[in-house]
Every structure is written in C-alpha cells, then in structure tokens.
C-alpha cells in the first residue's frame, strides 16, 4: 500500500515574486535569456503583424492594450525606417559583452553620452568602456530619423 506512486498531494510553490529587478545587477527571473526588443523593433514587429492580418482579412483584434501600445510606440520609437532599425540591431548585436536586456535598453533610450547611458542603465557600469559606449551611441545617433 505504501509503495504505490501517488500524484503529489500539494502543488509546487510558484517562484517567489518581487525579486526581479533591473538594478546594478540584472535579475530578470523567467526573462533572463528571452529575446528583448527595442521600442523601434517592437513598433516594426507589431505594425508588420497588423498589416499581415489586414492583408489576410483576419480580424486585427484591436484590444485596448494594443492601441495604447501602438500610440506609445509611435510617440517614442526613435528609428522610424526599417533599414535604420536593422542597422541599429546589427550595431547592438555586435556587442557580445552586453546582455540582450542591456542592448535593448540602449536602443530604446538613445542617450547622448556614455555617462547618461551608464546612469540610466546601472548594470552597464563595468561591462563596457566609456569610449566604446560613446562610439556606439554616436553611430546610433547618425541613424536616427535622417
């Protein structure tokens, strides 16, 4: 009787919330290695998706969340042209010393100086030199809506 395999009588504890943060060290929980998108990339992806749905004459399912997100991305996406977004993506993915999250943050916030960038993204502090970061930001600035 005691060596039958019973199903567990209690469910396993969910992972403790509230530990994820993006401070000086990145603790992203389940999003640790997930592909992150800059605001411009997200705008491109979502708009392409909506165009495809419209073309297939499927319901675009415009939820309130989607509309709010589209308005937000229209206001804040810095790189409007597809070629520029792809160029920025190539620039950023060349930086293997940074995590995906940090690369997406750099691409979204578009700071002017390396100091500003390191202040806004504290986890960058030791990962890249100010000189390299400034070079990266200058390259990106050239691609911004020209």
């Amino acid at each position: 009787m005691s060596d039958q395999n019973h199903a567990p009588t209690s469910r396993s504890k969910p992972p403790p919330p509230g530990e994820e943060e993006a401070g000086a060290t990145l603790k992203l929980g389940e999003f640790e290695d997930v592909e992150s998108l800059t605001l411009s990339e997200a705008s491109l992806v979502i708009n392409a998706l909506m165009t495809k749905r419209k073309k297939d004459r499927k319901d675009r399912n415009e939820t309130e969340v989607l509309n709010k997100t589209l308005d937000y991305l229209d206001a804040f996406a810095r790189f409007k042209q597809k070629e520029n977004v792809e160029a920025v993506e190539r620039l950023l993915s060349g930086r293997k010393e940074l995590t995906k999250f940090e690369r997406a943050q750099i691409g979204s916030l578009c700071c002017d100086t390396a100091d500003e960038c390191k202040t806004l993204i504290p986890s960058l502090a030791d990962k890249i030199s100010d000189y390299d970061l400034q070079e990266l930001l200058d390259e990106m600035a050239k691609l911004m809506s020209n």
Partner: protein, 171 residues
C-alpha cells in the same frame, strides 16, 4: 521592456467545431482569449504565430477537445529599476500620473526633485521649476520604476524622476 516570449496555453474546442479548419479555429480562439491580457507579471500585446499545436485530447465528461498550443508573443514586462519613457496624463498636488504603453505609473511629489514644485494656479495645473521644465498633461517624461504592483488583469507602478537624466524629455 518588450520581449518576444515563447508561451504555452491549453485551448479547448467545442465538438461543433471539429472539421477542416480546426487548427485555424484554435489559433483564433487563442488570440481572442490571450491578446491584450495581463498575466500578472507582463502584458501580452500581440501573438505572432503558433508553432506547436498538439493533437486534440477529448476531455472525459464534457466532449471538448483540449489542445496544448505553444506560441510566440510580443510581451511588455516592466522591471523594478528600469528606466522608461512615459506620457503624463493627470497632475495633482500629490504627484502626477503617466502612461507607458499599457502600464500606469504614479510619480509622487516626494520622488520629484525639490526645485520642481506644484503650481496649482497655472492652467493646466502643473509641476514646474520656473525655468525650463514643465510637467503637465501631455509632457513626455523619463521615469525610473521604483515599485510594481500586480492585481488580476492589471499592473501599476510607482516611479521616480529624482535622479540624473530623469524627468522631462526635451523634444
């Protein structure tokens, strides 16, 4: 922060739908059920595609077929300590409310630098440092997320503009 996340969900289909387009119907039902919702940690903005539709399993007793679908979606997951851009929509004496996509942020007056004060007499009421920074409905601001609260279906955040390079965005 936007992510392209792989997620999984169980979708049920009523027997009256069994037929030729089952996969399309399951995908449509998935999209209707999941898009635009907040799972507690993140908002699912849009589903890109499904890549692993299991075989349907009939649930004993109800006759519904259950499919386990794996799909890729654009999700919006705010993190504590992350810096985001937002648009102000309400200003009052205790602080201001801003919106970053689907997320509502509140920046309390305690987390606003001292030189920026509330001006109730201006039209519209605003926070201003009487020089170049004015925070009123419609202003774009850069906010650091200090805390997050989740409730079923919605998330709220507390933010701060008390820091270098935070606050009003020029242009």
């Amino acid at each position: 922060m936007f992510f392209l996340h792989n997620l999984e969900r169980r979708v049920t289909l009523h027997p009256s739908y069994f037929g030729r387009n089952m996969h399309d119907l399951v995908t449509t039902k998935l999209v209707k059920d999941v898009e635009g919702t907040c799972s507690g940690d993140y908002y699912i903005i849009a589903i890109m595609d499904t890549f692993d539709l299991s075989e349907g399993r009939i649930l004993p007793g109800s006759g519904l077929a259950e499919f386990t679908v794996r799909y890729r979606a654009v999700v919006w997951r705010p993190f504590k300590g992350e810096v985001v851009d937002a648009i102000v929509y309400t200003v009052n004496a205790h602080g201001f409310f801003a919106q970053a996509g689907p997320l509502r942020l509140f920046v309390s007056s305690h987390l606003i630098p001292d030189e920026i004060q509330y001006d109730a007499n201006a039209t519209p009421p605003q926070f201003t440092n009487n020089a170049d920074m004015v925070i009123e409905p419609g202003t774009h601001v850069r906010v650091r997320i200090i805390g997050l609260r989740t409730e079923v279906g919605e998330m709220w955040a507390i933010g701060s503009i008390n820091g270098d390079f935070l606050g009003c965005l020029q242009a």
